[in-house]
């Protein structure tokens, strides 16, 4: 059955006032390597149908991967039965009406048809290069294709197919390591040779790291580290639900200049430079949302529920999939930190004393209202002295407000890198130089 047939069947079986069907059909393969060999190699074929039934202002959700017609009919009835049990929720204004959706291309057949042998060949390049360098490589390569469909009883019907390719590696030497990652919707984004070379060069640069006293330092962040700034800021409050509940870093800051003038953060859902999708999981078109413009906090992103709670607000097309576990709320899924005009080399050259950070790891929110985050540096942390990378140091723990960190942005890189986000979607980010960043402990 195709998605049209599935959604028609579900809606015909539903007796709810309004019915929505969200479908995912996914083929995902992942080749994982460690110690210079492939040790896990998997593939998955799955579907998921989510039915959201609305009776008056009550919502019921049922989810299944069973596509037999009788099961789909039962799913529709089940969602309706769940809805009937509830008290009214006057904050819910109904499922959205259809809007014009402009298609966007983000499907590459080379990704969708990538074979285990092709993935192994790319992984093999990294493993052989690492072995030749006397190192051990670990990492993974993912190729996946996803068909997304959304339909509702008010006439919304949207379908999109997209692909994702991602490869990353940690290459380890005697006492140092390097990291490299590439993400894109096209297979051409994956450059195994370049990945290996980048990580191996960091292993060599990072050999024999020394202890370093934690404290507040100027930092130059590679795009991998910058990506964490955006991901955690997104998680900690770029969605309207977080703002409405008073737990976002945007609370009390909207309209204020809270970051450096050079900082422009935008969610641009249809931009093919990232991982685009033309509509959200309610089937509404994605709008371009400037979240921070010239350092000024402007607006979170909305779905129809959060927009309906405020006067004269409309969804920006950022609904996440409905879940029985409760509303996660709207979220940016194709986030960009606009590039500046400074090269990475210039950032280093203009730093008298500071730290060069490859990436952050295991970051967690400490205080959401200020987006205070703790985490570790990993896979290459270096001292910059008098405009040059002087020597490697052992990984450091930081505890830092990301909002305040970006307030002291001194330079933004001229090129961006697309990276798969740990929270779904993608971020496109350049390197940045921040004047102050607080490191709170060191490791062994």
């Amino acid at each position: 059955m195709n998605f049209r047939q599935i959604s028609d069947l579900v809606m015909s079986a539903s007796s709810a006032d309004e019915t929505e069907v969200l479908g995912f059909e996914q083929n995902e393969s992942l080749t994982r390597f460690a110690n210079n060999c492939i040790h896990q190699n998997v593939t998955e074929r799955n579907v998921q149908i989510t039915v959201r039934s609305v009776i008056e202002t009550k919502i019921g959700i049922a989810i299944s991967n069973d596509l037999r017609p009788e099961s789909l009919r039962e799913l529709a009835i089940r969602a309706g039965d769940v809805a009937k049990l509830q008290p009214s929720n006057p904050e819910f204004k109904g499922l959205p009406q259809p809007q014009v959706i402009t298609p966007v291309e983000s499907f590459d057949s080379a990704v969708a048809e990538c074979t285990p042998e092709q993935r192994a060949a790319r992984v093999g390049i990294i493993c052989r290069k690492a072995a030749d360098a006397g190192c051990a490589a670990a990492g993974s390569m993912t190729t996946s294709s996803l068909n997304v469909g959304v339909a509702n009883s008010k006439g919304v019907f949207a379908e999109h197919r997209l692909t994702l390719a991602d490869e990353s590696t940690v290459i380890m030497g005697q006492n140092s390591s390097g990291w490299a990652q590439r993400t894109g919707w096209q297979l051409a984004a994956i450059e195994a040779e370049a990945l290996a070379d980048e990580a191996i060069s960091k292993v060599r640069m990072g050999a024999d790291p020394v202890d370093f006293e934690p404290g507040e330092y100027s930092v130059v962040l590679e795009p991998y580290a910058t990506a964490d700034l955006l991901e955690m800021l997104a998680y900690d409050g770029m969605g309207a639900l977080a703002v409405q509940e008073g737990r976002s870093w945007m609370n009390g800051r909207i309209g204020e200049r809270i970051m450096a003038d050079s900082v422009n953060i935008v969610d641009d859902g249809t931009n093919i430079a990232g991982i685009p999708c033309p509509f959200d999981f309610e089937g509404l078109p994605k709008k371009v949302v400037p979240i921070v413009a010239s350092g000024v906090a402007l607006s979170p992103v909305y779905d129809s529920f959060t927009a309906g709670r405020e006067d004269r607000k409309q969804s920006t097309g950022h609904a996440t999939p409905p879940s029985p576990q409760g509303r996660f709320g709207p979220a940016p899924m194709n986030l960009f930190l606009r590039p500046g005009s400074t090269s990475l080399e210039t950032m280093i050259k203009t730093t008298k004393f500071g730290l060069y950070i490859t990436r952050f790891w295991y970051t967690r929110t400490v205080h959401p209202r200020d987006a205070v985050v703790t985490g570790m540096t990993r896979d290459g942390t270096f001292v910059i002295r008098n405009g040059e990378i002087a020597h490697p140091i052992k990984s450091l723990r930081f505890t830092q407000s990301y909002v305040e960190g970006l307030k002291y942005t001194e330079a933004i890189g001229e090129t961006t890198r697309v990276l798969r986000s740990g929270f779904g979607g993608a971020v496109s980010v350049p390197a940045v130089k921040l004047a102050k960043f607080r490191f709170t402990s060191s490791t062994r």
């Binding site: 492939i38 593939t43 074929r45």
Partner: protein
Amino acid sequence: MKDFTSHALNVATAKGARYADIRIIDHRQQVVSVKNGNVDGIGDQYSQGFGIRVLVGNSWGFASSAYVAKAEIERVATLAVQIAMASAMVPGPPVDLGSPVRSTGQYTTPIEVDPFSISLEQKLDLLFRADEILRRNSGVRVSEANVIAIRNHKFFSNTEGAFVQQILYESGGAVAATAVSDIEVQTRSHPNSFRYQGTGGWEYVINADLVGNAERVAAEAVALLAADVCPSKDTTLVLDSSQLALQIHESCGHPTELDRVFGTEAAFAGRSFLTLEKRNNFRYGSDIVNMTAESVRPTGLGTFGWDDEGVPASSTPLVREGEFVGYLMSRETASKLALESNGCMRADGWNRLPLIRMTNVSLEPGTWELDDMIADTDDGIFMETNRSWSIDDMRLNFQFGTEIGHEIKGGKRVRLLKNCTYAGITPDFWKSCDAIGNSRHWRLWGTPNCGKGEPMQTMGTGHGASPARFRNVKVGVFR
């Protein structure tokens, strides 16, 4: 079902696998969540499918599908072998699985009340009653209450003759109140900040007494807004058992996973400081620290009949009188140490490969009453309920935050403290442990959200602990 699994294994063998196993899983999950007097989420989730793992030569392949049908089984078994052959393009060392696993039998989680027999109306009634009490406190901005019920019906079979069937039930629930001021957010939750969850029936939820604790939770959240901030200093730290459970998870459970030690999680979850030469030769903690992994203890999220390699549930010492003595193992990793697997391989669904996961990794009880432990502390902080957590890739440098703290002065709990954090280095921290609560205070907690592997798998693990005391700990990392 046996015909089905046999056919898959026969196809895999005929295509060239020297070992194969298959898991067929039918998963049902029901969640009900209430927020601010409204239903925030409610519904059922069903997922079924199968996964076939094959070993061809010394290379692994795994393929899975949601379409449980004979033709699809043949396609997937063939694909798994093709994938294993592709793995051989970048080969590794010889794979030895140790002794054959020929387990047979059936296991069902002992439950008093099937959580799916409780109607949604009854579940909503419980949650609305708790939520209403939370909202009685005008300082509460966001009130939340939720319950969850899970049933996993699993079949496992392998080419060595194993065939086991398991029905695993999980139940859980929690309440939380969030208070907000102009500058900050404070949340208190009960019984724990992650959903309180274990293997068991509806009785597990009832025992949590969500309604009876709602008023206290709301009052504490509001009080925290006006509380003093945790001071920055080195001091004596007393942790409640729920926070200690996560401390054990991160700083003992993960570093004892043998796949980390062999580097196979290096790129994602990380490695371990507990390298091979340290087994039976490394002081992990003080003499009173004893840690055990066990999958046989009732109600733990790591409790089952057999793991996903068909290895029976067991109990394994990890730390004895402070000495590091054991790992969490799979068949393949155990054989590298000339040991047998202690049954720690689990996958979070039919579409995922089994990985080494914690079962129930617990700190054995000590001898102290909590009141005596606090009375015996001149100057320190008592911290409860996790709020944030982070640890480095070797599992050495950690930093945790808790929802609430109390200053201890002269053997008494005095000032309420907010934004409590503490940090340390794993073995230094455990070596500083000088008091552990007795079995009366010991409680088995669930961590339902442990992430590991690529594609990411979310697994439930169990951790038992009594409150314990640690000396000279850095607290108040960020004021």
